[in-house]
């Protein structure tokens, strides 16, 4: 036993619907038609929100915005696997996840306009404010799951982050703790191949993010992130395992950021047009449309109806957002501590912020 093999590992990859819309029957789960349609409709809704956000930004009606164009399957597919009572810890690119969960779009727009009220999740929706410091939300997902386990509740947390986020110490410590305490936490990585100008290949020398799970002794898997059904299945399975007490899972969804990093970025400075074009044809709606058509669930009229409804909904939400009263400066103080401090009271007067 001089050179002994202590252990062996494999990294698995799941795809169910290929780029031509053909589902592999050996892995296709028996999903109700209504669910498939819901996935489709939420993707359209999210994409509509996203397109309008991009124009609102150009028009100066919201601020810097992070588009999720291209990542809708990963976002909506995973979001629809989330049950009531689960907790969600998003990064700033997860507007699509939130929309699929029913988060009020008016609040999302207001957030992107620089208003903290936009991240006040409505009661019943356990969505943490989007984390801007990359990766720092991973320990929160771990901790919430720990609390669920402590309370013996059949719930789970899901934390979203990017390929860039996997390089951060927070990711490491969160996943390691999640493994040790076997908490019901899902860590969902949208590997969209870029962290601003840093390509995935130079973010880590590991070939996959999924294999990082090996270092924590937890489940890890990769999934085609542009296949909404595969994402839905992988996330559902992971959440089920978590709720059965079988511990955390790291999911890596291979996808692609088709837009610039944010509206302040200019991706053409650092990535080749051809790469973007090669991914454009793999975008999630194409294959879902083809697949649903084969199943008789898609027609042109259906999509037009869905698109129209989405536009109407988004327009109503934009109107509602733009009708919101301006935030009060005193809100800064109101939410610093549970009560105003003596200094804050003095400053309220001094600044003329009393209401």
């Amino acid at each position: 036993m001089p050179i002994d093999t202590l252990d062996r590992f494999e990294v698995k990859y799941l795809r169910i619907i290929d780029e031509n819309g053909t589902a592999d029957p050996s892995v296709m789960p028996p999903l109700p038609d209504a669910l498939l349609k819901n996935i489709f409709e939420k993707i359209v809704l999210a994409r509509t929100f996203n397109q309008r956000a991009m124009s609102l930004q150009r028009e100066g009606r919201i601020g810097t915005y992070a588009s999720f164009y291209g990542q809708e399957a990963a976002q909506v597919g995973s979001a629809l696997a989330i049950a009531e009572g689960d907790w969600v810890f998003p990064s700033f690119r997860e507007s699509g996840v939130l929309i699929a969960l029913g988060y009020p779009m008016r609040r999302l727009y207001s957030y992107w306009a620089g208003d903290e009220r936009g991240m006040q999740a409505p009661p019943g929706l356990n969505v943490f404010p989007m984390s801007v410091p990359v990766g720092t939300q991973a320990p929160h997902g771990m901790g919430a799951a720990w609390a669920m386990k402590y309370r013996k509740e059949k719930k789970a947390s899901i934390t979203y982050f990017g390929d860039g986020g996997s390089s951060r110490g927070d990711f490491h410590e969160a996943l390691n703790l999640a493994g040790v305490f076997k908490v019901p936490a899902i860590f969902f990585c949208q590997n969209n191949q870029w962290a601003i100008s840093m390509p995935r290949q130079r973010q880590t020398a590991a070939k996959t993010i999924a294999q990082k799970a090996i270092g924590y002794g937890i489940e890890g898997m990769a999934v085609d992130g542009n296949d909404a059904v595969a994402v839905y299945k992988a996330t559902t399975d992971a959440l089920d395992r978590a709720k059965r007490g079988e511990g955390p899972t790291l999911i890596e969804a291979f996808t692609y950021r088709l837009d610039d990093h944010t509206t302040s970025d200019e991706a053409s400075r650092y990535r080749p047009k051809e790469e973007v074009e090669a991914w454009r044809v793999k975008e999630p709606l194409i294959r879902l449309r083809l697949f649903m058509e084969k199943k008789g669930l898609w027609t042109r009229e259906y999509e037009e109806g869905v698109g129209k409804a989405a536009l109407d909904a988004v327009d109503r939400e934009i109107e509602a957002y733009e009708g919101m009263a301006a935030p009060e400066p005193s809100d800064m103080f109101r939410y610093t501590y549970d009560e105003l401090t003596a200094r804050q009271k003095r400053e309220l007067k001094e600044f003329g912020w009393e209401r």
Partner: protein
């Protein structure tokens, strides 16, 4: 009522709060079976079990960050960081999350978290075991900072910290842990955060101190008729009591262990210079650590303000 030291007082507060509220959990490195390196959590593991007294991996980002998630969820984590010098890895979680989740979510989520850590020079261990970096936390809106100075207030303040709906950094003076004993009432009681205590009344000058330095400031006060204020809560601190005393005495000395530059003494002095300058008869004197990294054991007594240095400050302030 019984005499106990600060280790015992902190332990008792933890035990009582854990008995009172099933959501209170203690977590940190070696807090369980080992009872903590200072034995503060001794007996809790046996009493409450491994789910409530949790030994964690060596992971300060993870411990603090997970506690933020737990606290937001509704559990009340009391985190022990083994020494204040090891909290630095957790600063981002404190500055970017614990302190502002209430603000970022406009009240939807809160962070009723306590981070306990021994602090200051006291046990002659290697570097980073003697930091007194309270000022870092005091500068961050949304965080409270508390430092007890006696067994009595250690128990009462920690009780309040655990019940407080805001994140509280609770710093326990390592040097005092077992070196002073005092009467501590049985059963639970709390001392409100944000209020200073007048440790000793007097008329000639005001001394502001906390933790270990409170005792040195008091020792140095023999022969002086000064008012000594034990700040106890460093953020937000009790400006009213401080200013009231300064207006009465007209002289101010602040004593702390941390390096002077931007130590909390700066804020106390600035407050006086801003709000009570017309009462001041002479300079505000800060007695503080030198402009240097906290040294290891052989130089630590040179670093830490001693009774002699404090006395000189008292004499100086009385010259005005």
């Amino acid at each position: 009522m019984g005499k106990m030291n600060i280790v015992q007082a902190v332990q008792e507060a933890l035990r009582l709060e854990m008995e009172r509220d099933g959501d209170v959990v203690v977590l940190g490195e070696d807090v369980g079976r080992d009872g903590g390196v200072f034995r503060v959590t001794e007996g809790l593991f046996e009493r409450f079990g491994p789910e409530r007294v949790i030994d964690t991996p060596l992971s300060e980002i993870g411990i603090v960050g997970a506690a933020v998630g737990m606290a937001a969820y509704g559990i009340k984590p009391v985190v022990e960081i083994q020494f204040m010098g090891f909290i630095y890895a957790g600063l981002e979680q404190i500055f970017s999350h614990a302190s502002r989740i209430r603000s970022r979510s406009r009240g939807r989520f809160t962070c009723p978290l306590v981070v306990r850590a021994p602090y200051g020079i006291g046990i002659k261990a290697p570097e980073l075991h003697s930091e007194s970096s309270e000022a870092f936390f005091c500068h961050m809106p949304g965080v409270k900072v508390v430092v007890p100075s006696t067994p009595y207030n250690a128990k009462g303040l920690l009780t309040s910290a655990i019940r407080d709906p805001n994140p509280v950094v609770f710093l326990e003076p390592a040097r005092l842990y077992r070196s002073i004993k005092g009467e501590v009432p049985d059963g639970e009681y709390s001392i409100p955060l944000g209020k200073a205590s007048v440790y000793q009344e007097g008329v000639d000058f005001t001394v502001v101190a906390w933790g270990t330095m409170l005792h040195r400031a008091a020792d140095a006060a023999e022969g002086f008729d000064c008012e000594i204020i034990d700040l106890m809560t460093l953020k937000p601190f009790d400006e009213e009591t401080v200013l009231g005393s300064v207006k009465k005495t007209g002289r101010l000395v602040v004593v702390h262990e941390a390096t002077m530059n931007l130590g909390l003494g700066a804020e106390v002095a600035a407050l006086a210079a801003g709000e009570a300058i017309e009462y001041l008869k002479g300079p505000v004197i800060r007695v503080a650590g030198p402009e240097a990294v906290v040294p290891m054991a052989r130089l630590e007594d040179d670093y830490m303000p001693g009774v002699e240095r404090i006395k000189r400050a008292y004499e100086k302030v009385m010259r005005y």
